[in-house]
């Protein structure tokens, strides 16, 4: 697991007040929403805001692309990496 994987997991735990959840419980390729971690639509907005604050990434809230990026930790890592290499 890369540092970025861990960094994003910690960001999710902190911004969403997931006090009882450890980074090891968030699986890289499992869904973050509904199944898997079980986050909801308000959490999605909150993660969007955190990505903007921390990495300067602005996402469209209703695009299919955004849906893809939010599908798992792996997808979020790809998003942040591609944004960095721009």
């Amino acid at each position: 697991m890369s540092n970025l994987h861990l960094e994003l997991k910690q960001m999710i735990i902190e911004t969403l007040d997931l006090e009882d959840i450890d980074t090891s419980e968030i699986i890289n390729d499992e869904p973050l929403f509904v199944e898997g971690l079980g986050l909801d639509s308000i959490d999605a907005l909150e993660i969007g805001l955190a990505l903007q604050k921390k990495y300067g990434i602005t996402l469209k809230s209703d695009s299919e692309e955004t849906r893809q990026y939010f599908s798992s930790i792996n997808a979020l890592v790809e998003l942040v990496e591609s944004h960095r290499s721009k």
Partner: protein
């Protein structure tokens, strides 16, 4: 005159959770300065639990002990100030030109606690959310009795927290967090009456109406605490003032 039956009740404040503890404290009040301790919300799924602010946890701390899991019941939620701490933190973000937290924004409405409560319990019964400066308990009860005309049982919750700075210096409001939860019933429990008994200028001096027990402790002379004296049988009636009229809530013998 209106009558209702009280099937069960529970109340919470820092260090006060049982009826016995409340009664002892109301008879021998001591200043409460400590914050609300940890409230167990085991009946609520963990992912929803994190959405409850200290105010919501306080309300749930009184509600959960008197409700069965899975029962559906209409409810009245009454709070004078609601989650002022949360609104203030959002206003601070706005003032600093920072983006607002979507979660914070969604929870800053006055009916957020009741909304979370209904989501957590998957109960789509009617909910009324009240904010009132005067006679909060009385107004909550009047609303609950209205709902009781079409429902066998109604949950009625009154809850508040002290205001944070800079608001606290402008109010004589509650000085510690508290919540009172009651289940009103058409058929079960002790009977209580609600009656309008003149305007404030009329002198009403019955023997058993609750009075501030300890004048040094102004904490105790609030409407919710006088109402708790009625619930714990320390008094047999309590008066509230509303829009210039005087109302009495009394236990029916």
């Amino acid at each position: 005159m209106i009558e209702f039956r009280l099937e069960s009740w529970a109340a919470m404040a820092p260090g006060l959770q049982t009826k016995e503890a409340w009664r002892d404290w109301l008879l021998h009040p001591e200043r409460i300065d400590s914050p609300l301790g940890k409230v167990s919300l085991k009946q609520i799924p963990p992912l929803l639990r994190r959405r409850f602010s200290p105010l919501g946890k306080c309300a749930m701390g009184a509600i959960l002990p008197i409700l069965e899991d899975g029962e559906s019941i209409p409810s009245i939620f009454a709070s004078r100030h609601g989650d002022t701490e949360l609104s203030l933190s959002l206003q601070k973000d706005m003032g600093l030109d920072e983006p607002m937290s979507p979660t914070g924004f969604s929870l800053a409405v006055h009916n957020a606690v009741s909304g979370l409560f209904s989501i957590a319990r998957k109960d789509t019964s009617e909910i009324t959310s009240i904010s009132a400066m005067e006679a909060l308990v009385l107004q909550a009860l009047l609303e609950a009795v209205g709902q009781l005309q079409v429902s066998a049982r109604v949950l009625c919750v009154v809850y508040d927290m002290p205001l944070p700075e800079p608001f606290s210096r402008f109010t004589k409001g509650d000085q510690f967090p508290y919540a009172i939860a009651m289940i009103l019933s058409q058929t079960t429990g002790d009977s209580y009456s609600i009656e309008q008994c003149g305007n404030i200028n009329d002198i009403i001096e019955p023997p058993s109406v609750s009075k501030p027990i300890n004048s040094e402790l102004k904490q105790i002379n609030s409407e919710p605490l006088r109402f708790l004296q009625l619930l714990t049988d320390i008094s047999s009636a309590t008066d509230s003032q509303l829009n210039g009229a005087s109302w009495r809530i009394a236990k029916v013998k």
